[in-house]
Subunit: 585 residues, 2 copies
């Protein structure tokens, strides 16, 4: 029981020197990768860069205690940073103390929500975000984030929440581009793109082993940071308009408390919920992928608690919402991390950086951070998925496209909500119109097939309907309409058989519809029968009065229903009788 | 096409003298029943009683043109009147012109929403109201309505939106009960109960035919109205504190226009939507029941348009939201109505009443109207359903109970919303955890059954999983977790077969989960196979890359998968090999 809520107990006991070495190695590499990224994502969130470091310390310790993934690396990530900027930007001005306090409060709210969802085992709610919706959301967020950073590359001031606003803001400001900034930003961006794509093969050509080349390439951003800092100092670029990070307070994260102001919480709870769900979905997919590679398991409901604890930790140490990041987790995994202790060691590394390295970052140009962000997020934009979805399923494509368009035009919050709503509507629409078929007997067999697809025998006084779905409240009304419509067209009808071989469950609404159909058919002189009802469904029907009231019978097989009811035409059989179906059977 | 949107065209052509006679007869009986009811429901809605008459004229003509049910009788109904009182009472004071205007606006909004839902063919959204939710809502509304009318029986002033408020209001006011009012109200209530239960058998005992006795009993409320008016006049009860209807403006309904004030519309749109959906669901169930008795059909999406037109007509003629009523439709049907023209004739009857009868109603005690309402709505309270639901399905019982409790404690709007939310949550929860089973071969057959329920053969290197549900985004994450969890426990595993005989569809999220499972299993050296994939599902899979990437194969039958994969143990077969399964096959 304790182990369930404190997964650290499962791995801490068998911790030894070998595991320690692996974890330390991974922690060093992840720390180097995380420092520029944390600064950059905090800037994206509209916060002082140092807040990114704060958000990368205590949350990692919390996850090490409560998380179930051995290799997930939590911290600030691009999409959640954008969502933070959008939520907090709506109620405070970036750069103010109120803005920071709201971000801290957002992390606290999100942390509490995640933990409560986990304790109530409500992780299934994340299912409402389908793959097409998430992928559309991530792509659109990538475009929004990259566009939002262009102003730092150009060295201009431009705002905007939505894509059209951002583009028009940039178009208006492009005339005042700062050339010195551009001279930093464009080469930095190109260099980082090359590091991503071309550095590893180049290092391998020089004889470096593949894995070492991969790890070295991850340190590329650090090189860009160092070189551009030197360039700023060497050429005195700050005097020529290049804006830099400036003074970063040195020291460990401060102790902070979220605001308890009701109006603020009221304004932030919806974005906090969306951030929680998006963060959880992103994190759990990464964790699952990595766990499967080593045949380990994660517990999604405990992951909610782990991420909740991380966010509460972030709120208590001056940070903002965090979650498990894709790129850093993969690096952590590839670098050989064995346990969440690697995360704790990374936290120590970041803490050391915030104690000793921050003075070195005074001259770091914002353009370099923007380049880091642009290169990181453009890989999130996925051009393949829309094409695949269009080919595979128009409904899924619709949910994907709606999410992209609304995220770009109306912002991240409405984008997620619209995606969930469109997906759910399409699902409910389909669930309310399940597949059903009039069936007849395949001559010479005991099989019954769709009359529209096969040459089968049917009788005018006997209608057999196969329902290919459980009977639930979503399709109960359809069931009544469908059956009664089929019956209204067939005056000589005396028997209706519902073939229930694909009915896995019947809820109370489905039962009431069956009762209504039974009574309405009886009013018209038609008997209702069931066939091939599954055992558990039959058990449940036995607890209601339906079987007592049923005008017809329950047949074990459709074949026996057909054979017996074929004889009851309601007419005297005679030679040459057109209803003389008995010869057929 | 025209006939689809104007169902009047389908029946008006063949209209003849015989149908006319039937329709006129039915109209007379329904008119007599409707006059006291309309006055009473308007009072329940917090409106002047005459508004009930207005809402029973033009809407009936509109439904006759646009409605598809031959016998549905539209007009003010109890539950919608209560919802109107709740919605309009939140923004205006009963008795004021603003209150009436808001009610007219509510009817207009509801009319437009219904018509738009109908034109967009979105009637399926009404499916979100399951039978247990509707039944709970109607029961709780009946209790709320009856309680709200007790003050008129006691002759006291008492308010309250929720049940506890109403009860405490009554408890505080009971000391100032007006005995003269009580002397009218209690006998009227008892008389109406007796009319409902005992009059018909009594009349039959006196030799009246059953149907005539039934129709005569429907006129009982008119007798109560007449007798209590005479009592008020004869004993001068108004001077003794009995409140009466008072002056009712004589004449046809006024032409009114809804407000276009944005703040009002913003305050009313949610209640308007709830009223629309509740009204539609109630109306369409009645219409369907009656249509089935004569093997007629109704078109639910056109019904939305018909009810939409009725509400717009109501808004244009000083009325408030209307829908198809259960009791009056049954009376209309039993009295022999053949076409919606009966509704139009009823409208003429009500119009005549509002032209000539209203002066007679000056002395009508409110207590009599309250008695009419109480007797009508107590039949809505359903004590049987909770018991049946408890026995049949705990989940449905939970939705039912939640709807009742929240409607009583927090009012009608939150009650409906909570019912829909609880129902949907339970549905999604179940949909996210479908049934699946590890299956094995029943010895000596080609059948594969659940290993937990049957004695079947399995192999340590081969795992067969049957999924009893379509693979959609709601269960995609579950699918990954379930399969990977099963695999994590079985180190000697080499093959996993997903038996897809119950999989009717695979959406893009389901496909992506299959791809993820395929890759993750491949990473662990396990091959994924499918068996018994249905034709349409296979066609769709052919449009994606999945089948190319699949590490294993697609088998036509589970049996052939088992037979072939049993041989591939990955070990050299030897005598006495524990995996020597070939002998079994």
């Amino acid at each position: 029981m304790l182990q369930r809520y404190f997964p650290i107990l499962t791995w801490a006991r068998s911790y030894d020197r070998g595991v320690l070495t692996s974890d330390l190695m991974a922690a060093v590499i992840v720390t180097i990768m995380l420092i520029p990224q944390s600064l950059a994502y905090a800037m994206l969130a509209g916060l002082p860069p140092v807040v990114g470091l704060y958000a990368s310390i205590l949350p990692l310790f919390a996850y090490a205690v409560f998380g179930t993934s051995r290799t997930l690396a939590v911290g600030p990530v691009a999409v959640v940073s954008l969502m933070t900027a959008s939520a907090v930007g709506a109620i405070a001005t970036p750069g103010t103390a109120e803005y920071w306090e709201a971000a801290v409060t957002l992390a606290a709210l999100s942390g509490v929500m995640l933990a409560v969802l986990g304790l109530l085992r409500l992780g299934f709610l994340a299912n409402l975000l389908s793959h097409p919706v998430i992928s559309g959301f991530i792509s659109a967020s990538g475009i929004l984030i990259a566009t939002s950073q262009l102003k730092h590359i150009l060295g201009v001031k431009a705002g905007g929440e939505t894509w059209p606003e951002m583009l028009s803001g940039l178009a208006g400001a492009i005339g005042s581009t700062n050339l010195a900034t551009l001279a930093i930003g464009v080469p930095a961006t190109l260099f980082l793109f090359w590091v991503r794509k071309g550095l590893k093969p180049a290092l391998q050509r020089f004889g470096m082993p593949a894995r070492a080349a991969d790890m070295t390439a991850k340190a590329g951003p650090v090189a860009a940071v160092a070189v551009t800092i030197l360039a700023v100092i060497g050429f005195g670029l700050e005097a020529r308009g290049v804006s830099t990070v400036g003074a970063i307070p040195q020291g460990l994260p401060p102790f902070t408390l979220p605001s308890t102001e009701f109006a603020l919480i009221q304004a932030l709870w919806v974005p906090a919920l969306l951030i929680s769900v998006i963060g959880f979905v992103e994190s759990v997919s990464v964790a699952q992928t990595l766990a499967a590679k080593r045949r380990q398991r994660i517990a999604p409901d405990q992951e909610l608690i782990g991420l909740g604890a991380s966010n509460i930790a972030s709120a208590l140490s001056g940070g903002y919402p965090v979650t498990g990041g894709f790129a850093r987790s993969v690096v952590n995994f590839d670098a050989g991390a064995q346990t969440p202790a690697a995360g704790a060691f990374t936290a120590v590394g970041i803490a050391l950086a915030s104690l000793f390295l921050t003075p070195l970052l005074f001259h770091l140009p914002n353009a370099t951070l923007a380049a880091t962000i642009i290169v990181a997020v453009l890989s999130l934009v996925d051009f393949k998925t829309p094409r695949l979805l269009w080919a595979y399923s128009k409904a899924d494509f619709a949910a994907h496209a709606a999410t992209i368009v609304i995220t770009l035009l109306a912002g991240v919050e409405l984008g997620v909500i619209a995606g969930v709503a469109v997906g759910l509507l399409l699902y409910l629409w389909r669930a309310s119109r399940p597949h059903a078929a009039i069936v007849g007997r395949v001559p010479g067999t005991e099989h019954f097939r769709n009359v529209e697809r096969h040459k089968v025998l049917t009788l005018p006084h006997l209608l057999s309907i196969r329902i290919d779905e459980s009977l639930t409240y979503l399709n109960a009304r359809w069931l009544e309409e469908y059956v009664l419509e089929q019956v209204a067209d067939r005056p000589p009808l005396r028997h209706v058989v519902l073939m229930c071989s694909a009915v896995n469950a019947i809820d109370a609404s489905g039962l009431e519809s069956l009762e209504a159909i039974n009574h309405r058919l009886a009013d018209g002189g038609v008997k209702l029968h069931l066939s091939e009802v599954k055992g558990p469904v039959m058990d449940r029907l036995g607890r209601a009065h339906f079987l007592d009231d049923l005008s017809g019978r329950v047949f074990l097989s459709q074949d026996s229903a057909f054979a017996e009811l074929a004889l009851d035409t309601g007419e005297e059989p005679g030679p040459g009788d057109p209803l003389d179906a008995r010869g057929m059977i």
